[in-house]
Amino acid sequence: MTRAASETGQVLGWTRDEMAARVAQDIPDGSYVNLGIGIPELVARFVPEGRELIYHTENGLLGMGPSPAPGRGDPELINAGKRQVTAIPGASFFHQSDSFAMIRGGHLDLCVLGAMQVSQQGDLANWSTGADDDIPAVGGAMDLVAGVKRIFVVTQHCTRTGEPKLVERCTYPLTGLRVVDRVYTDLAVIDITPAGFRLVEPAPGVDLDLIRARTGAPVLPVAPIPPIALIAERSTDA
């Protein structure tokens, strides 16, 4: 994956690994988390020392561990991307209705997903181009965005052809309305606020003008005081 380039061809912004690492910084200890396919999956590699996260995979496992050693996998122990995984000590298996009760019932703390487009009001499009010859496939994406407490999107700031993915209104079919809380791109961390996109943190060497030039809707500058307390420690009153 190439980095964004400036007008002069200079490489800018975060790599995929750096984007995933930036997301991982913002996930509180003790969170129950569902990670989508692609860059979101990388987040698990960058969880800071001393934090324990429990991973949910919607096909029926809470306590998902890493890939098995070669030859040690079970074709019936897989993740939502249908790749073989392991179960950590303390894991549980359950059927689909229980799995989506965890999702839709608001029991999961966070979901990290990829995107085709995110609108300034937090609408997400990530399941279909809407093209006539497209085979539509949705999986659990609509349930996840409708039910999980917080939704982070991690994506390149622009498409391969340079079109903004952060837009006023999505043109692709929606996955959910007003569902995204925060977007992590190669150029910046951006919150969805009632006033629209607001810059939280630019990538090193990236300024607000560049972010605005590559975003399809207005971007507010970094707030003097962050609008949401983002790294609150998870309450331990349970």
């Binding site: 919607e58 059927h95 209705s97 496939a137 949705v138 999986g139 996955t175």
Partner: protein
């Protein structure tokens, strides 16, 4: 005396009729009852409506049933998978129709159908193309849409262990849709790697109670779809 054991996959699926609605368990290859599906292909029932999360891969199992042109309609959440080469052609030609359902809604529709609930409201898909045309209703400050329960003439399920009363235990993430489809099938047919006498499964560990199961077939070493696909197998 209750004994739900049936001698073979062929005997278990013999009465599946043309035009039947058939639920088929599995998420990807995990939990896919390949031997029952192959027996259904041999049995030649056609014009089926199949309810299953995916559309199979390669040319074995569910993909082979589709390739044999036995399926008029698929109700599923994710028909597009790696090695899923059969369904796209059938869909584009219009031979097999598709009802696309979000995965959690699909699960809950099956659960509701099996539990005697005709319909329910969910926030999933509100504001999206999959919510269009559905009855909407506001509860509190949020919009929901109505979905109908699903039942089927037959459900085909894979379990790790069954007793002759039909009590079931599954293998890891192969559980997925099995317990729900067992409830929603008018006739539920199970293939199990182990079949044991009543009492050999701890009642505390039973996942699907036997009341939801009608037939149990012993398939001691079920094939794995990914291994068949890697070997270039096709069925029949």
């Amino acid at each position: 005396m209750i004994d739900k054991r049936v001698a073979s996959p062929a005997a278990a699926v013999a009465d599946i009729h043309d035009g039947a609605t058939v639920m088929i368990g599995g998420f990807g290859e995990a939990g896919s009852p390949i031997e029952l599906i192959h027996a259904l292909i041999d049995q030649e029932a056609r014009d089926l409506t199949v309810i299953s999360n995916n559309c199979g891969s390669g040319e074995v199992g569910l993909a082979a049933l589709l390739k044999a042109r036995r399926v008029a309609k698929m109700i599923c959440s994710f028909p597009r998978t790696a090695n899923s080469t059969v369904f796209p052609g059938l869909y584009r030609s219009g031979y097999t129709r598709l009802e696309l359902v979000p995965q959690g809604t699909l699960a809950e529709r099956i659960r509701a159908g099996g539990a005697g609930i005709p319909a329910f409201y969910t926030p999933t898909a509100v504001g999206t193309p999959l919510g269009e045309g559905k009855e909407h209703r506001r509860f509190g400050d949020r919009e929901y849409l109505m979905e109908h329960g699903l039942t089927a003439d037959f459900a085909l399920i894979k379990a790790r262990r069954a007793d002759s009363h039909g009590n079931l235990v599954y293998n890891r993430t192969a559980r997925n849709f099995g317990p729900l489809m067992a409830m929603a099938g008018r006739i539920t047919i199970v293939q199990a790697s182990d079949v044991v006498p009543p009492g050999d499964i701890d009642p505390e560990a039973v996942v699907t109670p036997g009341i939801f199961v009608d037939r149990v077939v012993h398939v001691p070493s079920p094939a794995h779809e990914s291994e068949l696909v890697a070997a270039g197998a096709s069925y029949p």
